[in-house]
């Protein structure tokens, strides 16, 4: 399907595809097995200018938006959802600065991120604050021209590898969700430490760690927006980033679909390629249709976000919900088409199935997406 991308977006898709096919595919199984962080690939992505596609030109980027980020994320995810997350996770960590950062903060942090010199990470989740982000316990206490951060963030993508962290912490507990604030914390700040690297089911090439703050002094100039804006920053960030997760899901699904079609053509049973059996054909047809439908929703949503629409919560949640459910279904069916071979780690599809699962969980579970969608629908109905 032609999504009428701009010439520049077609170029970045072509380049991301080249990197995915030539550089990521040959090493995807290696990084999945070893759980190492794929720094050599991050270097290639940095040199390719792709880290800057969604960053304005005046801060060293290429001036695109969420659509551009989705185009790159989808192509990279086709080869490896874990390695692609080093890229997309940086986008998630950068969006708070893009949306709410001061001119000074943008000038200071965005150029290095655009060049891929520094990765970024977003720190929201805590042990007891998952879907219920309001239960977070990390605090930031004002002390002169600094804030002192205490608490532990959990399951932070790119933690330990990234240099720039956007962190949500409570500045005034009494105010509830209006008492949170967002900060930029640089790696190496005294009092900021990382927990052990988590062992995960999928996206194993991605680094996930705790980020631990112990009397960590952060300059007040690193406060994003103003005190009390933390939850708004977090929610708006997620509204903007969810199409990216959805694009990752579409990429993973497309990768699985490509493998399934090719395998069905070459696998011979009962004297013919299994692609000749209607049972397989119908599975492939459903998979192809679902992936295309998910992609259509993702790019329609990404364009809506880039148009500057006031509220994109519902659409972003829909895109993420639909694409991640599709990824899970399509990768499961791909394993089914491969049969016993699909279950073996010598073949690439079981990894894609493991990678797909996270897209239904992070940046809001599928259940939370449904909550967001429904509450927006009900709100819209009340306004009528």
């Amino acid at each position: 399907m032609d999504y009428f991308l701009t010439e520049q977006q077609c170029m970045m898709r072509e380049l991301a595809k080249k990197i995915a096919d030539e550089k990521i595919k040959p090493v995807a199984a290696h990084y999945d097995e070893t759980e190492e962080f794929a720094w050599p690939i991050m270097k290639i992505l940095a040199d390719s200018d792709l880290f800057g596609v969604y960053i304005p030109e005046q801060y060293g980027g290429l001036g695109g938006g969420i659509t551009d980020m989705c185009v790159v994320t989808e192509e990279l995810s086709r080869a490896c959802g874990g390695i692609a997350l080093g890229y997309a996770g940086t986008g998630l960590g950068t969006i708070p600065i893009l949306l709410y950062g001061s001119e000074e903060q943008k000038k200071k942090f965005l150029p290095d991120i655009a060049r891929g010199k520094r990765l970024a990470a977003f720190c929201l989740t805590e042990a007891e604050a998952g879907s219920d982000a309001g239960s977070m316990k990390t605090t930031a206490k004002k002390d002169g021209d600094h804030y002192i951060l205490n608490g532990t963030k959990q399951w932070i993508t790119n933690a330990g590898e990234a240099e720039v962290y956007t962190v949500i912490a409570i500045t005034d507990k009494a105010k509830g969700t209006r008492g949170a604030s967002a900060f930029i914390v640089e790696k190496g700040t005294k009092g900021m430490d990382f927990g052990k690297k988590e062992k995960k089911m999928g996206i194993r090439a991605s680094a996930t760690r705790e980020v631990i703050f112990t009397d960590c002094r952060v300059p007040a100039s690193n406060l994003i927006s103003k005190e009390g804006m933390g939850f708004i920053v977090a929610l708006k960030t997620l509204d903007n980033s969810r199409p990216g997760v959805a694009a990752q899901a579409v990429g993973i699904a497309q990768g699985a679909l490509d493998h399934a079609v090719e395998y069905s053509r070459t696998r011979v049973q009962f004297g013919q390629p299994i692609s000749g059996f209607q049972a397989i054909q119908h599975m492939l047809a459903d998979m192809g249709t679902q992936v295309e439908a998910a992609r259509a929703l993702v790019y329609a949503t990404a364009r809506l976000v880039d148009s500057g629409a006031k509220s994109v919560s519902k659409e972003s949640a829909m895109a993420k919900l639909f694409a991640s459910e599709t990824a899970m279904k399509v990768t499961t069916d791909a394993v089914q088409i491969f049969g016993g071979y699909g279950y073996m780690r010598d073949y690439p599809v079981e990894k894609l199935m493991r990678d797909a699962k996270i897209t239904q969980i992070y940046e809001g579970t599928s259940q939370v997406q449904r909550n967001v969608i429904a509450s927006n629908m009900i709100k819209e109905s009340l306004k009528k």
């Binding site: 520049q8 170029m11 970045m12 380049l15 080249k18 030539e22 290639i44 390719s48 200018d49 792709l50």
Partner: protein
């Protein structure tokens, strides 16, 4: 402190059919070029990369140069996307039928027109003709030193360079004054992928196009007339026959194999 100077680098490239697609017409014994994608000669990719790395290290400018039909402009644009700064296409019907001697003469005439340079870098050979003669031919026409099969540039200054030259057994270390010409082997580097900025520049770049008149070439030395080489015959070697597999008891097989080897007089 190392002296910093500005390198003026020329990299000569060729557009070739993608060898993974090439088939040979069994009747005429010629390459079937229809419908085959054209790419930068794979060995030239290493030349481009080395040129761009030299520029990045020392400062300067890389000019990509090719002789070929108008569509060779695409190869030059790709070279720009990989970090070259300028591109020159020499193209003229008069060049048709050039052998390696006429080609290297034509390229050397274009290089003279480009003006002063420090280093010319070529791939060791092209994947279609496989002669490895055009690089050396250019240096002969320009009367400058050449080092072929370079696998590492150890040192380079405004006046000279020290390089490792690959041989069958190992490598030679060669020192040469500049300006000079290198042909490079694939061991020298790993070519990068293009960058977004490079691709955007390639889209808008204006490739300089020169004809035989522009480069003030002697018409008698161009194209078929300027080509002393005569190709007597091109043929596809007969495909290798499959080996023979011996079956049976190990001792019998060993005996039989010994006899066969004796008869084969290896």
């Amino acid at each position: 402190m190392r002296q910093k100077f500005i390198m003026n680098i020329i990299v000569c490239i060729k557009q070739v059919p993608n060898t993974t697609d090439v088939r040979i017409d069994p009747l005429t014994n010629t390459l079937i070029r229809e419908g085959v994608e054209s790419v930068i000669n794979p060995f030239d990719a290493y030349a481009i990369e080395e040129a761009v790395r030299l520029k990045e290290r020392l400062g300067g400018k890389v000019t990509a140069l090719t002789m070929g039909p108008p569509q060779a402009e695409n190869a030059l644009k790709e070279a720009i996307s990989l970090g070259c700064d300028e591109a020159v296409l020499v193209s003229d019907r008069k060049f048709a039928g050039s052998d390696t001697w006429a080609t290297s003469y034509t390229l050397s005439a274009a290089i003279k027109k480009l003006g002063a340079f420090d280093v010319i870098i070529c791939g060791k050979q092209a994947s279609d003709g496989d002669t490895a003669q055009v690089g050396p031919g250019i240096s002969a026409h320009l009367n400058i030193p050449q080092v072929t099969y370079v696998k590492k540039i150890e040192q380079i200054s405004a006046a000279s360079a020290k390089v490792e030259r690959m041989t069958e057994e190992g490598y030679d270390i060669v020192e040469t004054p500049l300006p000079c010409l290198f042909t490079v082997v694939k061991e020298i580097n790993t070519p990068r992928l293009p960058s977004m900025r490079g691709m955007m520049k390639a889209k808008s770049v204006k490739v300089t196009k020169w004809t035989a008149d522009d480069i003030e070439a002697d018409p008698r030395l161009l194209g078929l007339d300027g080509s002393p080489t005569r190709v007597v015959k091109i043929f596809t070697p007969a495909p290798r026959k499959g080996g023979e597999i011996l079956n049976g008891d190990t001792a019998d097989i060993a005996r039989e194999l010994a006899e066969l080897l004796k008869d084969a007089v290896i």
